[in-house]
Amino acid sequence: MYNARPLFTYCGIPFFQQAQYNCIFVFFLYIQLTEFSVRNLEAIVSHRTFAPENSKHHVSPIKNFKLMAKVKISIYQNRNKKSKNYKQFYGRVKHNSTIEPDTLCAHAANDSGIEEAKVAIVFEGVLKQMKEQLCLGHPITLDGMGTFKIGISSEGVSTEDVQRRYPQFDPETDDIRRYLSARQVKSAHLLFNPSVEVKTLLRAIKFETDKTEWASLMAIEQSNTNTEEP
């Protein structure tokens, strides 16, 4: 039991009142400790982050993310005659549906317990800001998802090319980088680099094949081989 009586004596509180003050002190101490543990518990349950990402106390937004992820795979044949893998069979993801922003906001509102209107405002605001910042050359890191950034495609220039264009260029003494120009850039594109957590989730995905589709393909294949045999 906590006893703060020496402190009360030091503060000049009479002895007969110290028992009452001690009860109040212990009660407040208990409330503070309980509140602290509840906050930590909430953080773990709802995956909130109170500590910085590099801290050992950091709780990842997608840690403990229980997932029964399954992706449907459909099969297709390579029909490109120029390809060395012509007529080979490959698998590709058969997407269930395209989730529109409204549906995503409804899911997120349900998850967070915050009004859908507020979720929609934040979603729109963050994405608009993301587009603007990306076009200013700032990469954007979304904790628990990955990094978006701009990549560029450029024309390659050799030392001989520079010599042809600039006769004054001396490859032995001059720095070639002085003669290179930003006009070499041909186009820009958007890049997405998933975080380690997302990569782990992707590795855990199970594949599900559409048996009826595959059976029909196999039947066609069987009939083709039967017709070729005689």
């Binding site: 390579n78 967070s112 934040v122 076009c135 186009s187």
Partner: protein, 149 residues
């Protein structure tokens, strides 16, 4: 209209057909976080800072969950996010096995027209910090020598 700083880099892959050629590479700043992006929303609306972070985290959780369950997601102003697979080929349908032929899973980002148009309008500016810094030091040294002389 944005300006992207680009810096010259040399291809040093000895097996590449473009070995030794010089290319431009985008020079990126420090990545921005959700908190920094969300700061302007706090000014525009009456939503609290904690709620903005909570909403963004909920959205990201949902995106991850939906992606891993085979849904494509339309992200406004950016494009469509979906899962793709890398697979080896099989000679016949019966020989193809998804669990052994699929070698990797990745996320595909298909940019929409809006972001493509914005990217087409970008300007580029040549920048290489190390050399600029070295030149500045050389100039300082030359000036100091002149002063001493």
């Amino acid at each position: 209209m944005g300006t992207i700083r680009v810096t010259p880099v040399q291809n040093k892959i000895s097996t590449s057909i473009s070995y030794g050629k010089w290319y431009m590479m985008a020079k990126m700043d420090q990545p921005l976080t959700v908190e920094e992006l969300g700061s302007h929303i706090l000014m525009d609306s009456k939503i609290e800072r904690a709620q903005v972070s909570e909403i963004v985290r909920a959205i990201l959780r949902q995106i991850n969950e939906l992606l891993c369950n085979g849904h494509a997601i339309r992200i406004p102003h950016l494009g469509i996010l979906k899962v793709g697979v890398t697979s080896t080929g099989a000679d016949t349908v019966s020989e193809y096995n998804a669990n052994t032929n699929i070698k990797g899973v990745h996320i595909v980002l298909l940019p929409d027209k809006e972001i493509k148009d914005e990217l087409a309008k970008l300007h580029y500016e040549k920048f290489y910090y190390k050399d600029a810094h070295a030149e500045m030091l050389a100039l300082d040294a030359a000036e100091a020598e002149e002063g001493n002389g």
